[in-house]
Amino acid sequence: MTDTSVRQDSPTAPQQSAPEGGDAAPARSLGADARRQLARSPLFWVSAALISVFVLMAIWPSLFTTVSPNESILRESRSLPSSDAWFGRDFQGYDIYSRVIYGARASILVGIFTTTFTVLVGGMIGTLAAYNGGWIDGIISRITDMFFAVPFILGAILFMSALADSFTSYFGVIFKVVLALTIFGWPSLARLMRSSVLTVLPNDYIRATKALGASPWRIIRSHIIPNAMGPMIVVATINLGAYIAAEATLSFLGIGLTPPVVSWGVMINDSIVGLRTTPHMILFPSLFLSLTVLAFIMLGDAVRDAFDPKSR
């Protein structure tokens, strides 16, 4: 039923080829339909390409540059972009190109881990609240409200300052940032998951499964979660970009990652005093940071368009 209306609305697919039209006649799952739609979306391919480049940068920076990010040539401090240092050098005479490449790791790690944890925690708590209902829902919802009421950045700043003296290694600090962003980021996903589980619960197929005697765990795992997690996946993808920006904000304020760790936020913080005289020092890290955030937002847009036929 929805298949035909979708196909008429969709401007990207004027004509379906014969074999595709043939196998579409029997019920096609929402997931398969979404995947098909994604494969046709240029937005998806552009963002996927950008993200692959950044992920590769994070895993294997030496693939992109042979210069060490901590090799300081003070004589050439603040020099402009040249054939020697493509993006110029900063105050310490570090090669900005090399630092921008090595800086990807912190952002990508924070983004991916925070998204994973917020989806797990938020999804689980939201599903629990909606499935059980009653007083359990009441208590869980109030606890969600407590964390939701603390402004996101403010909560993260407080948490990072409270733990300022512990976990000071590279991965320790990244872990701290992930923890801080997760603690104050899960409530929005929990609320979203709760409301979408509530819309799935009254469906006939859930009642039928219950009548057939399936265990609650089985109902949740194979019927509720697959049908209710669409909206959460979309928001989580867009949030990934927001978490990367939040990490940079914390580093910018001087309480996230700190030198000698190389990160885009730290680079921007270091070079912001030179905005008037040496703008190239702030341009490149900002550009890479923005491109990464942009790539995840575009991916989220593409996924939403694929999962939600109404918005096409």
């Binding site: 606890i143 009421a149 700043i157 948490f159 409270a162 904000t249 304020l253 921007i268």
Partner: protein, 308 residues
């Protein structure tokens, strides 16, 4: 209606207490010696430290300290900060500045965001629509501290259109640029939200009926489609007001605004727990009340939603 308000207010009590405890626990876990620097360059005497700990309940376990603090707050006393100035007095002054900033940002959000959203929603797929989509995407992906610093440099220093920093009085003119920066991300979100909802509603049956019975285009859009499209936008703006109050830390730092954000940040850095807890608690309470207000607004925008 009044039953609903009472129930919501009752639900708010445990949330406020819980959030305050959360903040209280984090603030008092801040590392460092609370008496450091209290006695000039010498270390404080044993007797002074003992007296200080006793006066500030620092020897008690955390829950007991929290209960004592609540008792104090219930009497309307937010305590004194490190300089022995009452926190309430500081907050009164600083909330005026940040409140003005956040309200102006919300104003930009509503005016520019909704206008851009209507423009692009009504001409979906045309040039204006694509322009709005691309420019909002750009604004969303650039971090706010870069927008702030670059805006300050080009519009303030180079072109001289706006004051570069904000003085203690924080006049409306001085706050124009910071408010625009603070609201920039939300302007983009509001524009996109308005666009999506408006274009969805324009395709709905009731709009077709309204057109068929001969209503003018402006009446169809303004009275029917737009009003129904505003519910998610109002929700967003409402939630955002609280986030703007708290998120102003970065903007306040860039433009040297003497607001709550800067107060909290300095409080954290100087380990001024009483000041931080008071400021954040006030923020959370404002936020929760604005949310309640937003939920009550639904009823006016969409009569189908009732709170009985």
């Amino acid at each position: 209606m009044s039953k609903y308000v009472v129930r919501r207010l009752l639900q708010m009590i445990p949330v406020i207490l819980g959030t305050m405890f959360l903040i209280f626990a984090m603030v008092f876990a801040l590392p460092g010696d609370p008496t450091a620097g209290k006695c000039g360059e010498r270390p404080c005497s044993e007797a002074y430290i003992a007296k200080y700990y006793e006066e500030n309940n620092l020897n008690d376990p955390l829950p007991l300290r929290y209960v004592k603090y609540l008792g104090q707050v219930a009497q309307g006393d937010l305590g004194e900060n490190q300089y022995e100035v009452p926190v309430a007095q500081d907050l009164e002054q600083r909330y005026q500045v940040t409140g003005k900033l956040a309200l102006m940002a919300v104003g930009f959000e509503v005016v520019i965001g909704i206008a851009a959203g209507i423009l692009s929603g009504m001409r979906k797929g045309r040039f204006v629509d694509n322009l709005v989509l691309v420019s909002t995407l750009v604004v969303i992906s650039i971090p706010i501290f870069v927008i702030g610093a670059v805006g300050q440099y080009f519009l303030g220093v180079r072109l001289g259109w706006f004051p570069v920093t904000v003085s203690g009085d924080a006049t409306v003119y001085q706050l124009l640029l910071p408010a625009m920066v603070l609201g920039s991300l939300s302007i983009a979100y509001v524009a996109r939200l308005t666009r999506t909802n408006l274009s969805e509603n324009l395709r709905s049956d009731y709009v077709r009926t309204a057109t068929a019975k001969g209503l003018t285009r402006s009446r169809t859009v303004g009275l029917h489609a737009l009003r129904n499209s505003m519910i998610p936008v109002v929700t967003f703006v409402g939630y955002d007001f609280g986030a703007l109050l708290g998120g102003a830390i970065v903007t306040e730092r860039i433009f040297n605004i003497q607001g709550v954000g800067g107060y909290i940040f300095r409080g954290i850095q100087t380990r001024d727990g009483v000041a931080v807890v008071g400021a954040v608690t006030a923020l959370v309470i404002v936020y929760l009340f604005v949310n309640l207000l937003v939920d009550l607004l639904y009823g006016f925008l969409d009569p189908r939603i009732s709170h009985d």
